[in-house]
Symmetry: none
Subunit: 214 residues, 4 copies
Amino acid sequence: MSRTRTPPPHAARNAEGNEPEKRRAILHAAVRVFAEKGYHGCRIADVARAANVAYGLVYHYFRNKEELLESVFAEQWTILINAIRAIDEGPGTAADKVAAIFGFVFDVYKAAPAAVRVLILEVTRTPQGLRAGSTRETFDRAVHLVADVVRQGQQAGELRAELDPVIAAAGLLGALELAMTGMVIGIVPAGDEAAVDRVKGEVVELVCGGLRRR
Amino acid sequence: MSRTRTPPPHAARNAEGNEPEKRRAILHAAVRVFAEKGYHGCRIADVARAANVAYGLVYHYFRNKEELLESVFAEQWTILINAIRAIDEGPGTAADKVAAIFGFVFDVYKAAPAAVRVLILEVTRTPQGLRAGSTRETFDRAVHLVADVVRQGQQAGELRAELDPVIAAAGLLGALELAMTGMVIGIVPAGDEAAVDRVKGEVVELVCGGLRRR
Amino acid sequence: MSRTRTPPPHAARNAEGNEPEKRRAILHAAVRVFAEKGYHGCRIADVARAANVAYGLVYHYFRNKEELLESVFAEQWTILINAIRAIDEGPGTAADKVAAIFGFVFDVYKAAPAAVRVLILEVTRTPQGLRAGSTRETFDRAVHLVADVVRQGQQAGELRAELDPVIAAAGLLGALELAMTGMVIGIVPAGDEAAVDRVKGEVVELVCGGLRRR
Amino acid sequence: MSRTRTPPPHAARNAEGNEPEKRRAILHAAVRVFAEKGYHGCRIADVARAANVAYGLVYHYFRNKEELLESVFAEQWTILINAIRAIDEGPGTAADKVAAIFGFVFDVYKAAPAAVRVLILEVTRTPQGLRAGSTRETFDRAVHLVADVVRQGQQAGELRAELDPVIAAAGLLGALELAMTGMVIGIVPAGDEAAVDRVKGEVVELVCGGLRRR
DNA sequence: CATGAATGAGCGTTCATTCAT
DNA sequence: TATGAATGAACGCTCATTCAT
């Protein structure tokens, strides 16, 4: 019974330490397919076909369908979190930073609406997904990063101190999210880039300036 | 053979014009089960069992699983829409009305968190579901009702006129939604009624007063 | 969340307390199919087809393929065990009883070789199957029943007392089994009933009288 | 292109005429793995891992999984058959020879129970496997070798002449096999070497001396 | 010889839906 | 109305086998 083992399958990196090209292809195809038909509405075969890859290869790189979804999320949120962190550590007022975060998300949306749709429509709505696994953690981290921005703005005397930073962060991201959902499903107009930019400006103004007239 | 015509299947009301008790039982059970395991995560058998009703009876009252979901949504949103409309037509400033709407939703959440979870977590979940069917329409109506409240506030000079009412409405509901999602998944504290009330107050203040200090 | 539940599926008996006809059909078909192609060599579809029953019905009555196999075994071994017990409790010398047990098995073989083949070829050879589950218990019981026969023969002064009853029982059943396996795979001639009877007599003589000349 | 011909694949011996070390490793690993999880319960990857060898190499040395099993059997049975033949051609009465054969098998069991388990539990497992291929032939040869021992004992007047040698041989091996199976699965005690030896003695006495008292 | 990524047929299982009673 | 047995399409996952290097 010898116990040394060959490197386990489902690894994200190959012997050279970089991610195999086909793994990337599958991941990107998954984003598109999930966005188009939803997690439950698509089959592994759809992903494989979209990635131009053999059926079985999906299971070579991912343990199962759920792990594939998790990987998609991890990738997407990591991008977002890194952006938030960069903005957070950069210069500017807290309001500027909130605007920058919103701007980043809207920019990504303009460039790759599918990715944002998956990020938004599938993550937030999967009760199980949010309860367990790395997805929930990642989401958690995003909320707290935004909460930190708020907190700093409060300490700098720029933002209203009486609001709970975490609740405020949840509210901010929620407004962002439903605005985008509105665009995705056609309630909010998002015909061209200018329209998207206009929505972005309005949402930022809503959460920063408030509804109420001064 | 039989002289008496069988009533049309899948009817919401029986010969006497009132809704059969078992239909209600199924509908209420569906809310609980959808909330607990999600639409895709539960089987018709689960609903039937939770309703203490025979398997086949679900199909007697509802054409299929999707129609059951639609019915649940219709019922829930109808309640919400009626409440919004009543608030809208009542007295008070626009900000009061927004607060009242949020208050209603939070009250329902305190009384029946499951119902709110279904309403929130499952509506936007299925992209197809949002594109077609009465669900999307209903959701649309809710957004526009809130937009009307905003518009009236603007016309009364109470709310800032430069914001698009629909975008603002989407943002409002989004903030509401993610705050509740945060409570549901444990990111935002919602231990007791007082905590829930506190969250409500903060979210209202966020969207009405804005983040920025005056 | 009501908790009274409809009778669980996979039940062996229906509301009237008797076994559903189709369940029997599936069980009997499974015996034939397992015998023909082996547990691993057949698909659930084969069993369903042989039983003239819809695919899904197999899963209505049995949790999964393994439970189907267990059920087949349980049924077959129960028959055998009951026969052994009846013989055991009947009159006659221990040697008569051993002969009767062997006779019973050979008779069943003549009537339904498939059943015996499953019993023998699949049970004994499935390491996992023997380790866990009811199958192993049942097999255990059979061995100990035969051991009891031996023990009584020893106490009656009829059989040699120096042999361990359990080991002797295992040896007896082993001789029986491999003789039948030999017939099944064609090493031992089993063309007609007479040939089968001859094998039976020889095996009984072998284990009772021994190889050695007196 | 290359001048040197590649050696025929799946060859048991290399250019120097001796068996490659890795081939042996695979074969031995296969014995262990088959013993542990059964033929159907293990994957080629398990064998490769246990042998500390690359996945593909298994297919370099063996055409497919079945041929690997055949090779394992061939190796194991060849050892057994050679032992039986040596015993057969050696001195001693037929009963001595039977005892010696049993002794050999039990000795191997003490040294390498896994090997015996594969030999015993997997051979007859697959009906197809017994019908065709070298496995069945090899098994056949073993039975007939034992039958020869019996026949010679009968001709020497030492064993009872009225028993069919082949049936007797099948019975002998059957008793042997189920006794060992009993040990393997824990029905027959086989805690230490002494216990194993005791079982051996009893089984030999059973088949030679018979159950019946003289 | 050696490696392990790539392929895809095959099969177990689930579960929405229908139907006979 | 009410019941639950019966149906079968759909799909996730496995794993033997091949192939490029």
